[in-house]
Symmetry: C3
Subunit: 342 residues, 3 copies
C-alpha cells in the first residue's frame, strides 16, 4: 500500500511487504525511543488523540510516539467531554477536527466507527481500537515483538509455532494478529481456550486456507509445549453480554513459573497484549514470572512506541527526514537503557 496521506484502519490493508516496511521504519526509530538522540522532524505538527473509550497504554503510547518525533498532542478522553453528546455526527466531528490536526488517532467503542470517521477526515486517521473490531497498531507491535524475539534466536516469522491462550472469542488483539499471520508461511498455531470462548470459525478457516496448521485445546497444559511463543490474553470482560457470564471464565487458565518450567521448551517467549489482570481471582499470567528473561510483555509495550512512531512517519511521509532533524540528548538516561538491556 501507499502509506503517504492514507488511513491505517485495519490489518487487512497490509501485504507482507507493507508489514516489512513498517518494521524496517520501526527499527530506525529505536535510537530515538531509547533516548540515544532526539529528533524534531515533526516540529509544528499536531496529532489529535481522540479516545472515546478509557485507555492509558494506547493513548500515552501514541502521544509519546508523536512527541518523540517532535510533534504536539491535543487530546480528548471522554465521550461526555465531546460534542457527540449534543448529537453531532462522526462526519461533522471528523471534518472539524481534521481542520485542527495533521493526523488523528481515534479509539471508539463501536465497530466501524473509526472507518466512518476517517471517510470524512481530511488528514490521515489511525485506528486506536474500534470496539470488538480492530486494533491494528496492537497487532503490528505484537508481530514486531515476535520478529525481534525470534531474531534473537536466529529465527524468522516463517515456520513460527505459537500458542494463543485465553478468551479467543472476544479478543480483538488475537483476531488481528491471526490475520497478520496469514502473510507468513507455515505457521503452527495452538488455540487454547474454554470451549465457549474458542476462536471464531472464520479465522480458523482463514489460517488453514493459508496452509497453516491449526490445533484446538481446552486445557492450558495440553497446548503450551512445542511452541516458540505463548501469547496469553485476559478475559475481555467488557465485551461479554453480562458480568456474570464473564466471571465464569476468569481465572480458568493461569500460566505461572511452575507450569512454564514443567511444560514449555527453554526460551519459549511469553507475551500478553496487556493489561494483564493481576487480581487474585484472575492472574492469567502470574507475577512469579516477572523475573523470567523470556517474559517479553514489557519489551512488547516498548516496541509499541517504535511501531507507532513508524506509522506516523509513514503516513506523514517523513521517514527519510527523521535523521536530518536529530539532536543529542541532554539528560540522564543510563538506568532506562540498563533496564532495556535486561
Amino acid at each position: 500500500m501507499d502509506f503517504v496521506g492514507n488511513h491505517i484502519l485495519s490489518v487487512g490493508q497490509f501485504q507482507r511487504s507493507d508489514v516489512n516496511r513498517i518494521f524496517s521504519v520501526a527499527d530506525r526509530m529505536r535510537p530515538y525511543a531509547m533516548r540515544k538522540r532526539i529528533t524534531r522532524v515533526l516540529e509544528g505538527a499536531i496529532v489529535s488523540n481522540m479516545f472515546f473509550e478509557p485507555s492509558t497504554r494506547t493513548r500515552v503510547s501514541f502521544g509519546s510516539a508523536f512527541n518523540l518525533l517532535g510533534g504536539e498532542v491535543r487530546e480528548t478522553t471522554e465521550v461526555k467531554a465531546s460534542s457527540l453528546t449534543k448529537g453531532e455526527s462522526l462526519y461533522d466531528t471528523a471534518r472539524v477536527l481534521s481542520g485542527y490536526s495533521d493526523v488523528i488517532v481515534m479509539r471508539h467503542p463501536e465497530a466501524g466507527s473509526v472507518a466512518e470517521f476517517a471517510a470524512a477526515s481530511r488528514v490521515p486517521v489511525i485506528n486506536g481500537g474500534d470496539g470488538p473490531n480492530e486494533h491494528p497498531s496492537q497487532a503490528l507491535l505484537d508481530l514486531y515483538t515476535m520478529r525481534e524475539e525470534l531474531r534473537a534466536q536466529d529465527r524468522s516469522l516463517d515456520h513460527l509455532r505459537i500458542a494463543l491462550i485465553g478468551d479467543l472469542r472476544y479478543g480483538r488483539a488475537v483476531h488481528s494478529l491471526c490475520k497478520l499471520l496469514c502473510l507468513y508461511d507455515d505457521i503452527h498455531i495452538h488455540f487454547i481456550s474454554p470451549p465457549e470462548l474458542e476462536i471464531p470459525e472464520e479465522i480458523s478457516l482463514q489460517l488453514r486456507n493459508h496452509g497453516h496448521q491449526v490445533t484446538q485445546f481446552h486445557r492450558l497444559e495440553a497446548g503450551i509445549h512445542g511452541v516458540d511463543i505463548l501469547y496469553v490474553t485476559r478475559t475481555q470482560e467488557e465485551r461479554f453480554p453480562s458480568q456474570d457470564e464473564a466471571d465464569k471464565y476468569r481465572g480458568l487458565f493461569r500460566l505461572n513459573e511452575s507450569i512454564y518450567t514443567q511444560h514449555c521448551e527453554p526460551n519459549t517467549v511469553i507475551m500478553h497484549p496487556l493489561p494483564r489482570d493481576s487480581r487474585a481471582q484472575a492472574q492469567e499470567l502470574d507475577e512469579d514470572l516477572n523475573q523470567n528473561p523470556n517474559l517479553a510483555i514489557f519489551r512488547q509495550t516498548d516496541n509499541g512506541v517504535l511501531v507507532r512512531m513508524a506509522l506516523f512517519a509513514l503516513v506523514l511521509n517523513v521517514v527519510e527526514e527523521v535523521d536530518n532533524h536529530a539532536k543529542p540528548v541532554t539528560w540522564f538516561t543510563a538506568k532506562r537503557n540498563l533496564a532495556e538491556k535486561m
Copy 2:
C-alpha cells in the same frame, strides 16, 4: 482597544477598527494554519486551557491555535478535577494559575464567571464561553467567515442581508453576533424562530437603533429568501428549564437541500456555529446539504483557528514577530490543502 496584555471577555469591548485589526491578523495566520509553513514565535509560552464545561471543538481549536504559534498547552477539563470542588474561589484559582501560564482560556457554565476570574489573573484571559452569556471568539469567527464568504462574491459586511434561524432566545452565539453586527452599516436581519424562542427584545432594539432593518418570522420558508447568509442554530437544550420544554422545539425548523433550492437565492451561504444536531428528531441542518458548495460550516471551524491564533498573537504582542520565526513544513499536507480548496 489596546490588545496587548489585556483580556478578551466580551464582543462589547470591540470597535469596528478592533475587529478589522483581528481579521487582518487572522489573514496573516492562514499560511500557518494551512501548514504552508510553521512558526515558533511562542516557543516556551504556556496557555492554560481551563474548561469547566464539556467542549471538544472550542477547546481543541484554542489548543491547536496555540500549538501552531509554537506554544505549549496545559489543560483542565472538568469541574471535579479542580480545586473548585474544595471550595476554592475563582479569585484564588486565577491568581494561582496565572503564575503557571502566559495566557489563560476559560470556559465556565456561569455567566460572568470568566470576567470575575480575569479580574484576579496576572496574565491575559480569553473567554471561551461563560454559560448563556458570551463566547466572543465564536462571534468573531462567524463574522470573519461572513466577510470571507462575501469577499468571494466581491461584497463586504456593510449592507449584509442575513437570516438567523432557530433558538434565538438562548443562543449566545447569535446574541454576540448581533452585537458585532452593530459595528457595521445597513444590515438586514431576518429573525426566524418559534414564537417562544424569539430574539430578546433588547437585542432587537439595539440593532434597530443602529439603523438596521429587523424582521421577525415564525416559519422557516417565510424568512430564508432574499438574504446572503443563513445562520442556522441548534436548540440550546442545556439552557432550557427542563428537557421536556426543550423537546418541544427540537426538529421544528429543518433546512435541507430541497427547501434551500426552492427558497434561497443562488450562492446563499449556509452557516452554523456547530455542533449541529444530526439525530433523526432534530436535524436543523440536514446532511443532504453536505456537498452543497455554499455550506460554509467547516470553513467556519477552520477559520476559528485563524481567529484564535490572531487573539493570542495580539494579546501576547507577537504579531510582527510571527514571520520572523517561520520554518518550512516537513510533512505531507497535500490532501488537507486539496480539501481546503473545495
Copy 3:
C-alpha cells in the same frame, strides 16, 4: 543524596544539604519561571503526569515546570481512564509507562502506592501526593517560601518561630513540613488545632527530640502572637471517616484581617498550602486579607514552579545545562512581572 536518576518519594530522603541543593537550583530557575528568558534544555523529554486523584494546582504546576524546561507533558487524570480498572497492578503500569516517559509524576489516593510504583519504574518517579502519606514537593515549596520570606527580613530558617493552624491530624502538608523542620535548629512551633485534630504525637515527639520548642493551643488567638509565620490549613474533609465528622470542624478557626492586626506581630507572614476553602461556612483564611502584603499564599504557588523545575533538573541531571539552552522571550510579560513585584 544523589539526585541523578533517583526517585523523590518522601521528605525523609533529604539531609539539610539536599534541601539546600534543591533551593539553590530553584533560585537559578527564577528567570525562566518569571519569563525573563526561556530554556529548551529538556527539548525532546517527556514527563508522564499520572494523577489518579483530582488535582489542578499540583498537576498544572508540575506540567508547566516541565514545559518551562522545554519538555513535553503526557497526562492521565482519572482512575477510570486507566488500565488499573482492568485489574492491572502498579508494577505493570510502572514498567509500561516508564517505557514511554523520561520521568513520571504520580498522585494516588493510597499511602505507599507511589513508592510501590516507583520500585518498578525504569525512570525517576516524583511523588505528587500519595493519599494521607506524603507530598514532598509541597513541603519543599513551603519551606522554600519560608526561606524567601525570612530572607527579605534578613533572617534564616534557623530560629524560626511558626504557628501551624487547623486540621493538624490529617494534613499531610503539615506532617511533611514538620519533618523538614527537623533539619534546622532551634525552631519554635505553635500547634493550633481543635483537641480532636491535634498533631500526631510521634511528629510532636520527633520535633522535641531535635531540640525544637513545641506548644499546643486550642484557640486561634492564643497561639498566633510571637511568631514569624502563620501556616493556615483547611480541614482535610476527604480524609475524614464521614462528612458529618468533617463538618464539625469547618469554620472553627478563621483568620481574618482584624484578628491578624490585633494579635500578630507586624510582618508576620501568612501562608496556606491551598486550596483555601472560601465557602461562607469555612473561610479559614478570610479574603479580607487578600491585599495584606504579608499574605504569601500566591508567592507560595509561584515558588512551587521553581521547586518542581529544580526537582526535574536534578533527577534528570541538567542543572548545569539549563543556561546553555536559554533563549530570549518573544512575548509580552510586563503585567506578570509587575504583579510579582507586589
